[in-house]
Structures are given as structure tokens and as C-alpha cells.
């Protein structure tokens, strides 16, 4: 019975596909799986929107939306309806084709990232051998859609916002890749299923998740920082800095296209949290061996929603970083630390079992963290201001 519940979706698909003729079956399986993704994650997006507004409210001593539906549960429906019915303005001087294509390209690319995420035990759409590389290839092309949006609106604010967003996404994409390379080094394969299987091992009932190893924890912290910056969230939400940039690269978007950007951002956050859970938090593996009876996909979605709550928590707490602080932090702290993390992971791999590698790796990482934190990030004393006029 337990196994049936765990594989309920797989069995359901096979049962449905059983009715179709043989040659149609592989196509039908893919279509059903894609349809499932296109239903669950926008559904999760609606829940996250409500979670965010109520969570932020509670953090600021207020209640958050509770008027639409019982306890505000229909608020996402109201938001969706509002953005669908709002008029979709396109500025006259805007470049209509690129202006229209930008959100479409963003949503398509973000959803393609889900093809490789292992949502549950053998519930991966495409079990690709180079799954992680595919995921980052898709992640890398979101910058282009951000640029298309910013440039095509022919508006200084949006162009500035796009420039900032692209610069930020590029400089935080490198640490994102580097911190996941450490995981690949230890697992020995780029396929996300293999990574989850490597972590799905238990000793004394405790799982072998990578976050419980020194290099894994450091990698996860850096991954989380880079992921927050990659999705333009909370401390790094400079591109849509309301105070100075109106709304960054989606200033000139309204109505459905704005909702698409909104959807793209949230679905991107869900997918990067999914990847973080898969790489460091053991994907769909249960936190304790005794809890193994719970279906695997519940653990995956639980971890994704947990990291969404952390995203919201960060948004409720941290002020926005300035552009130079943001860049400084990326290139002077996050990237060197992830590089060092690679060496520590290598040392971890070749020092063999035993307590020695725990001590050495943690010591190296802690010392590096403190030293780099103190040296790299100390208050820069600002000399006389030098001006550079645009020639």
C-alpha cells in the first residue's frame, strides 16, 4: 500500500496511457507529465503568492490579505483575475515584437528547467545524463529575456533595470554553477537522479544529505545566496528597485504580460529551490529512515515550500543591497569561497572515511570564512570621490 501511494502518479499515468494504442504511448506519457508540471507549479505559484503576502504581513505585525475568500485563500485568484483583465499597454515607441517575445521566452525557458528535476522516486520527466548542465543552460538564457524586456520598452528606467539585472545574474551565475560542481564532484555524475540516489543512503537512521557535510553546508549557503540573486529576490532585488527604478525591466509591462513576468519569477524561484533541494537536501529522500513510508514526492514539495518560506523570510528582513556592494560581494566573497569549497570537496573525497576529514574540512572552511569575511568585506574607507563623465 505504501509503495502504491508513493508511486500513485506513475501508476495513474500508466493506467491512463494503457488505453492508447502502442505507438502513441511514449508521446502520451510525456504529454501527461508536461501537463502535470504545467498544472502543479503555477498552482504552487498561487499558493506562494498568498504565503508571501500573509507571511510578510505577519512579520510586520499586520495580518495580510484576509478579505477575499475564507482567510484570504482566494487572493491569488483575485490577483490573477485582476492582472488578466487589466489593459495591456504597449508603449508607442516600444519594439512590439521583442516587447511581446520577452515574457514568452522567459516563461518557456523557466518551465523547461523542470524537465530534469526529480520530483519523486522515478518521477523525473527526462532522466538526462547531463541533467544539471541542461538545467544551467536553461537558467543562463533567462538573462537574455530580461535584456529583451528592458531594451524593447525604450524606457531609461527599464534599460537601467535590465542592465543591472543582467550584470547581477551573470555575476551570480558563476558561483551558482561552482557550488553545484562540488556536488557533482562528490557524486561523480551530472544526472540529478544519480545525485539524489547518492544522498538517499542512511546510517543510524540519518540520511547522507550533502548539507550535513562541511563542504555541503558551505556550498548550500553559497548556493542559496547565488540563487536569491539569480531570481532577483530580497536583498538582491535591485533590478526592480521600486524606490529608484520604478519597476526595473518590467516597467512598461501591464496586464497579462506583467503577470507572465510575475509567474516567471516565482516559477523560477520554485525551480531553483527544487534544484537546491535536489543537490543539497536530498531531493525526495526522507529526513529519517523511519519516515521512509511517507510518499517521496511529499518530501520534495515540502523542501521546496520550506525554501520558499526562507525566500519570503529573507525578503521580510533584509534591506536591498547597493549595486556596487552587490557586485563586490559576488566577486570578492561568494566566488572565491565557492572555489575554495571545490578544493575542500576534493580533499573530502580523497581523505577517505574517518573523523579527520570532518575536522580538516570544517576548519579550513571556517577559517576561510572568517578571514575572507574580515578582509574582503570590511568597510572600505572611501577616498575623494572621482567622477567619470559619460563622454
Amino acid at each position: 500500500m505504501i509503495d502504491k501511494l508513493d508511486q500513485v502518479f506513475v501508476l495513474l499515468t500508466q493506467w491512463v496511457v494503457g488505453f492508447l494504442p502502442a505507438f502513441l504511448q511514449p508521446v502520451a506519457v510525456v504529454v501527461i507529465a508536461v501537463a502535470a508540471i504545467l498544472v502543479t507549479f503555477p498552482g504552487l505559484f498561487a499558493i506562494c503568492v498568498l504565503l508571501e503576502r500573509k507571511g510578510l504581513g505577519r512579520m510586520q505585525n499586520r495580518i495580510g490579505p484576509n478579505r477575499v475568500g475564507p482567510f484570504g485563500l482566494l487572493q491569488p485568484v483575485a490577483d490573477g483575475l485582476k492582472s488578466l483583465t487589466k489593459e495591456d499597454l504597449v508603449p508607442l515607441s516600444a519594439d512590439a515584437a521583442v516587447h511581446f517575445l520577452a515574457p514568452v521566452f522567459l516563461v518557456v525557458v523557466v518551465f523547461m528547467g523542470y524537465a530534469v528535476l526529480p520530483v519523486g522516486r522515478n518521477m523525473t520527466l527526462v532522466n538526462m545524463d547531463a541533467g544539471l548542465l541542461f538545467y544551467f543552460a536553461m537558467g543562463a538564457s533567462t538573462e537574455l529575456s530580461v535584456f529583451m524586456a528592458g531594451w524593447s520598452s525604450r524606457n531609461k528606467y527599464s534599460l537601467l533595470g535590465a542592465m543591472r539585472a543582467v550584470a547581477q545574474m551573470i555575476s551570480y551565475e558563476v558561483p551558482l554553477l561552482m557550488s553545484s560542481v562540488a556536488v557533482v564532484m562528490i557524486t561523480g555524475s551530472l544526472s540529478l537522479n544519480a545525485i539524489v540516489d547518492a544522498q538517499n543512503v542512511y546510517t543510524w537512521g540519518l540520511p547522507h544529505w550533502y548539507i550535513f557535510t562541511p563542504w555541503g553546508f558551505a556550498g548550500f549557503v553559497m548556493f542559496a545566496t547565488a540563487a536569491t540573486a539569480e531570481t532577483n529576490r530580497s536583498p538582491f532585488d535591485l533590478p526592480e528597485g521600486e524606490s529608484e527604478l520604478v519597476a526595473g525591466y518590467f516597467t512598461e509591462y501591464s496586464g497579462f504580460k506583467f503577470a507572465e513576468f510575475f509567474l516567471g519569477e516565482y516559477v523560477g524561484m520554485l525551480s531553483i529551490s527544487g534544484l537546491g533541494a535536489t543537490l543539497f537536501l536530498g531531493g525526495w529522500s526522507a529526513p529519517l529512515q523511519v519516515l521512509g513510508f511517507v510518499p517521496s514526492w511529499i518530501w520534495f514539495f515540502g523542501k521546496v515550500m520550506l525554501s520558499m518560506c526562507v525566500f519570503i523570510w529573507l525578503r521580510g528582513t533584509l534591506p536591498r543591497l547597493r549595486q556596487d556592494q552587490l557586485m563586490n560581494f559576488a566577486w570578492k566573497f561568494v566566488l572565491p569561497f565557492t572555489m575554495l569549497n571545490l578544493f575542500v570537496a576534493a580533499a573530502w573525497r580523497f581523505m577517505g572515511d574517518g573523523w579527520l576529514r570532518w575536522v580538516v574540512c570544517s576548519a579550513v572552511l571556517v577559517i576561510a570564512y572568517v578571514v575572507m569575511g574580515r578582509v574582503g568585506m570590511r568597510r572600505k574607507h572611501f577616498g575623494p570621490r572621482s567622477y567619470r563623465y559619460a563622454e
Partner: protein, 223 residues
């Protein structure tokens, strides 16, 4: 160490988040239509005309002196004087406003009319849910809609109303005392000429003149 501040900040918001479900002072929202904040005594929204007694027409304190109309910065008060007179709380015959309009949509609740009114006739009400569908006529209140009883004034601004009533009562008492004294003096004057009719004529006009002066004095003071 890098990141300490972030962790402290996160702990603070977490405390806020958890506290909002538990302790009252971490959830300060008052859900407006269902719950309401206790009205503060000094709230002021839009003016209303005070009348004593039960009949709004007779007891209206306003004497149409039009000071408030002149002083009102946004000019939202419109007064038309009456032709006849009616007695006020002291019993003196005073003009009353035939028409007294305030345009609520223009009024900015600055309370200058209350400060300049010499007759304590106009006070600030605390009712603010006055939204209407009709933008023009709906928000132009005439005398009937504006005039409210003194009891209502006591209900919304108890201490202030008490002071005003005390002052009015004391004035009334002084006025009556003066009137009584004037009446007594007039009586004494009338008795004195009877006793000494041979006294020369000029004394008579002197007697009548003082009788008139106190009345005027009284009006100036009232001004």
C-alpha cells in the same frame, strides 16, 4: 563575523512572525468595519450646529453673524440671514439663519469656524462615514441636516460640552442679574421722581439714557 547581523535580523522577524499569532502587541491591526478603535475625544470631522432644548428651529444658538462664513478658508459655509428675530438663550431677540449650508466635500475640518464663533453655535462632529453616491447634492448639508442637539454634543465631546454649558449658564445668570439690577434701578428711578417732582427736568433724561447704555454694552461684550 560576516553574516551575524543577518542572523540577528532574521531572528527578529521570526520572533515577530511567531509572536503575531500569540501576543496581542505583536499584531496591532484593527480590522476596520468589524472592529473599531475607541473614538478619541478630540476627533473632529465636519461641523454641526448646536441647538438647545428640543426644537431645532427655536433653540438654534446660531445668530447668523456670518463670522464663520468669512473666516472659513475653503469658503464652504453659506448663510442667508432671516428677516425676523427670535429670542436666544438669554431671552434677547436675535436674528437667526434662514439658510445655513456647509459643503462637506469642500470642508477641510480645520475647526476655525468653531474657534471664531462667539455664540458657541457651531461644533465639530465625529461622524466620518458620510460617503454618498451623489457627488454634488449629497455632500451639501443644509441647516436641517446640520443642526444637532446639545445632548449629542455632550455625547461626542463631554468635557468640552460641559465647559461650554457652564460658561453659557454663568453668562445667562450674569445677564439675568444685570437685567434684574437694571430693572430694580429703573424702578428706583421711577420711585425717586415721584417723590421729588419739583426737581428740574434735566434729571429725567439722564435717567433714561443710562437705561439704554447697559443694553448696548451688553451687546458689544457679546460681540
Amino acid at each position: 563575523m560576516l553574516g551575524e547581523g543577518i542572523l540577528k535580523g532574521l531572528a527578529e522577524t521570526a520572533r515577530n512572525f511567531a509572536g503575531s499569532f500569540v501576543s496581542a502587541e505583536r499584531l496591532t491591526t484593527v480590522e476596520y468595519p468589524e472592529q473599531r478603535i475607541a473614538p478619541i475625544e478630540a476627533t473632529r470631522d465636519f461641523p454641526f450646529l448646536v441647538y438647545d432644548g428640543t426644537d431645532p428651529e427655536a433653540g438654534l444658538r446660531c445668530v447668523a453673524c456670518q463670522i464663520c462664513e468669512k473666516e472659513c478658508p475653503p469658503k464652504c459655509i453659506y448663510i442667508v440671514k432671516s428677516t425676523d428675530k427670535k429670542p436666544d438663550y438669554v431671552g434677547k431677540l436675535q436674528i437667526y439663519p434662514a439658510r445655513f449650508d456647509i459643503d462637506i466635500s469642500v470642508c477641510m475640518s480645520c475647526q476655525i469656524c468653531v474657534e471664531v464663533c462667539p455664540f458657541e453655535a457651531i461644533k465639530m462632529d465625529t461622524a466620518f462615514e458620510l460617503a454618498t453616491t451623489d457627488r454634488f447634492g449629497g455632500l451639501l448639508y443644509d441647516k436641517k441636516e446640520l443642526s444637532k442637539s446639545n445632548e449629542h454634543y455632550h455625547a461626542i465631546h463631554p468635557t468640552e460640552a460641559a465647559e461650554v454649558d457652564a460658561r453659557l449658564a454663568e453668562e445667562k445668570a450674569k445677564g439675568e442679574a444685570k437685567a434684574k439690577a437694571a430693572a430694580a434701578a429703573a424702578l428706583a428711578k421711577a420711585a425717586a421722581p415721584a417723590a421729588a417732582t419739583p426737581v428740574p427736568k434735566p434729571a429725567a433724561p439722564a435717567a433714561t439714557v443710562p437705561a439704554v447704555k447697559p443694553a448696548e454694552g451688553e451687546r458689544n461684550r457679546d460681540r
